[in-house]
């Protein structure tokens, strides 16, 4: 059921270096087959939006990419390293793949700055002073530097999510994964987070986003992938995807979320 159409990348020309390669991926929760024969790849600099109805397996798929979920069949290769039971492979991939969660998941007992420097100092063995300088740069980029000594509970949801993005960036990731980053936000805070994501895309970051923000998909995605019942149903560039969906399930989904 794979109607992938090879499209030339939108915008500037990307090098065709593959960062994520997934083949014949299968996953079960008990008897429930959540991911069915997923094949897809992400090139360096590509922005991919994964969408689909809830329960379609898109979050599970993105969480397989850094082994927060274990797959049972198939291969995931990221930056030439295969994700398998080898814990040092897993930790290598996790340190190179950033992830932003729906509920931010900042560490509430640490200040914003401590949240940011934790992984660089422990995993990258960066001296604390260097890590703090870098962290302050990223905080300035997400426009939150003045809150660096507050605790996560003291700032708004939108601010927390921007901090979470900065925290991932501090590990200098090759790919950023976004798992519904705006779904838990109040409406007036969605834009500030999307703005940061758009900026990140413009800087050439490789991104895989699970999101219902179709405006964001239209604006920055190179490819939109539509999933349903654990399968990739349709995969296309955003213009064709929105104006001319090929499969009726995609049409039904789009008319539901764009219909009002």
């Amino acid at each position: 059921m794979n109607t992938a159409i090879e499209m030339p990348p939108k915008g500037q020309q990307h090098s065709a270096e593959t960062i994520i390669q997934i083949s014949k991926l299968n996953k079960w929760y008990g008897d429930f087959h959540v991911l069915k024969n997923i094949d897809f790849h992400v090139n360096k600099g590509e922005r991919i939006v994964l969408c689909g109805p809830s329960g379609s397996g898109k979050s599970t798929l993105i969480r397989c990419l850094n082994r927060l979920e274990e797959h049972q069949q198939g291969n995931i290769v990221i930056e030439g390293v295969e994700l398998n039971d080898n814990i040092s492979n897993i930790e290598k991939i996790r340190s190179d793949v950033g992830m932003v969660f729906q509920h931010f998941n900042l560490f509430p007992h640490m200040t914003i700055l401590e949240n940011l420097v934790l992984a660089p100092t422990l995993v990258r063995k960066m001296p604390l002073a260097d890590a703090e300088e870098m962290a302050m740069n990223y905080l300035a980029r997400v426009k939150i530097a003045e809150h660096s000594h507050k605790y996560p509970g003291q700032i708004s949801g939108g601010q927390q999510q921007r901090v979470a993005i900065a925290r991932s960036l501090c590990m200098n990731p090759k790919v950023m994964l976004f798992d519904e980053p705006t779904s838990a936000l109040d409406p007036e805070m969605i834009k500030e987070v999307l703005d940061v994501m758009v900026e990140l895309a413009e800087d050439g970051m490789t991104m895989v986003c699970v999101t219902h923000e179709m405006g964001f998909a239209k604006e920055v995605a190179d490819r939109v992938i539509f999933m349903d019942s654990g399968e990739i149903v349709e995969e296309n560039d955003p213009h064709s995807f929105f104006s001319n969906p090929q499969v009726d399930r995609t049409q039904a989904f789009l008319s539901q979320i764009l219909g009002h």
Binding site: N66, R67, L68, E91, K92, R94, S95, D96, V97, G98, M99, F101, H103, N105, L106, F107, P108, H109, L118, A119, L122, V123, Y151, P152, G153, Q154, A164, R167, S168, M171
Partner: protein, 371 residues
């Protein structure tokens, strides 16, 4: 009308808040609302007042006004005097350190100051993270070395001469310092993927929790030497200390387990996603949050352990309570049990209440999480 709405929109200022009505303030209102609201509460209030009036004046007269503060035992035996606090003064050294050699008393005092120093460093957040843990874990060894001596030029003081509050504090402090990390390890072991580790931890915890402390103390004191190989000599005090640590760590483990379960899964996931290895996830992300969740019961366990040290009297150690008891049998000071035990109760209360207050301070000082 529409003109007015527009003006109002442009220059909206909230109305000033009004003061509450007079009936809501003042001592009379407070008493009426809290002490005399309804028949039952009025009766209870009057009964309590009666109790206070009948007990407190006598207590104050005995303990403060008519009390003897100095002089020898003869001064206390005069007709009509109250509490004999000079008894405490005369026995103070024995109560504090037992029959520890006088010329070496600086050693337990220094250990106590070190304990206060580490507490201060922790409370004032001058040391944190790994360094704080290291300070705490080194402290028991230094304390045992300072008090016991025998190495590095310090003359040995046999453990039969240790006693009094020093012994109680030593047993409790070392017990707490060692059993908290041990309890954390046991709690983590309960969640281990390895069935061997998991089953060992669960059976240890459940076995210890099924046995009264006094049994463990008897086993440590009496039975353990029978199992030890010939020539291996662990002294009585150390065996009892180890018994208390094992007992306490099983309870700590159960407290910490509750805390671990209260840390949201997203925290571990976020830490994993950053590439942190398991030990760092636990040490920096999960355990600090878990401990904060269970601070009240954890402090409660510490207080209980301090009070439980009084049980070592039964296996022949003269801790604070032991010294209180034996000093009343001093021929010169025979018959001052009330003073002895009131003073003992006061000291136990002082230590426990300080721990409890510190726990409350920690709870309110921690950063608040908004979800």
């Amino acid at each position: 009308m529409s003109d007015m709405t527009e003006t109002a929109l442009r220059t909206f200022t909230p109305q000033p808040a009004l003061a509450p009505p007079k009936e809501l303030k003042g001592a009379v209102h407070w008493a009426r609302a809290n002490l005399f609201d309804g028949g039952l509460n009025t009766v209870l209030t009057l009964l309590s007042l009666l109790l206070i009036v009948s007990v407190v004046p006598g207590l104050v007269r005995w303990g403060l006004l008519d009390a003897v503060w100095q002089g020898d035992s003869e001064a206390c035996r005069v007709e009509g005097v109250g509490a004999c606090w000079s008894f405490i003064g005369a026995n103070f050294r024995i109560l504090m350190v037992g029959i520890y050699p006088v010329e070496e008393i600086w050693r337990p005092v220094l250990s106590f100051l070190l304990l206060l120093g580490v507490i201060w460093l922790t409370v004032s957040r001058r040391v944190r993270g790994i360094r704080m843990v290291a300070f705490w874990l080194v402290l028991p060894f230094i304390a045992y070395w300072l008090i016991g001596g025998g190495y590095l030029g310090l003359p040995e003081v046999d453990q039969s001469r240790w006693g009094g509050l020093m012994l109680s504090l030593l047993l409790a402090a070392v017990g707490i310092i060692v059993s908290v990390p041990l309890g954390i390890l046991l709690a983590l072991g309960r969640f281990s993927d390895s069935p061997v580790i998991k089953i060992s931890c669960v059976s240890f915890i459940e076995t210890i929790r099924g046995v009264p402390l006094i049994t463990i103390l008897f086993m440590a004191s009496v039975m353990l030497p029978l199992f030890l190989p010939e020539g291996m000599d662990v002294n009585n005090l150390l065996r009892i200390q180890i018994g208390m640590i094992l007992f306490s760590s099983a309870y700590m483990a159960e407290v910490v387990r509750g805390g671990l379960q209260a840390v949201p899964r997203g925290q571990t996931e976020a830490a994993k996603a950053l590439g942190l290895p398991y030990r760092h996830i636990m040490f920096y992300v999960v355990i600090p949050q878990a401990l904060r969740h269970v601070l009240p019961p954890l402090i409660g366990r510490c207080i209980a352990l301090f009070k439980d040290t009084s049980l070592v009297l039964i296996v022949g150690l003269l801790d604070f309570l032991g010294m209180l008891k034996s000093s009343t049998q001093d021929s010169e000071w025979l018959g001052f049990e009330a003073e002895s035990y009131v003073f003992g109760a006061f000291v136990y209360w002082l230590v426990c209440y300080s721990m409890s207050r510190y726990g409350q301070h920690l709870e309110s000082a921690g950063p608040k999480n908004n979800h």
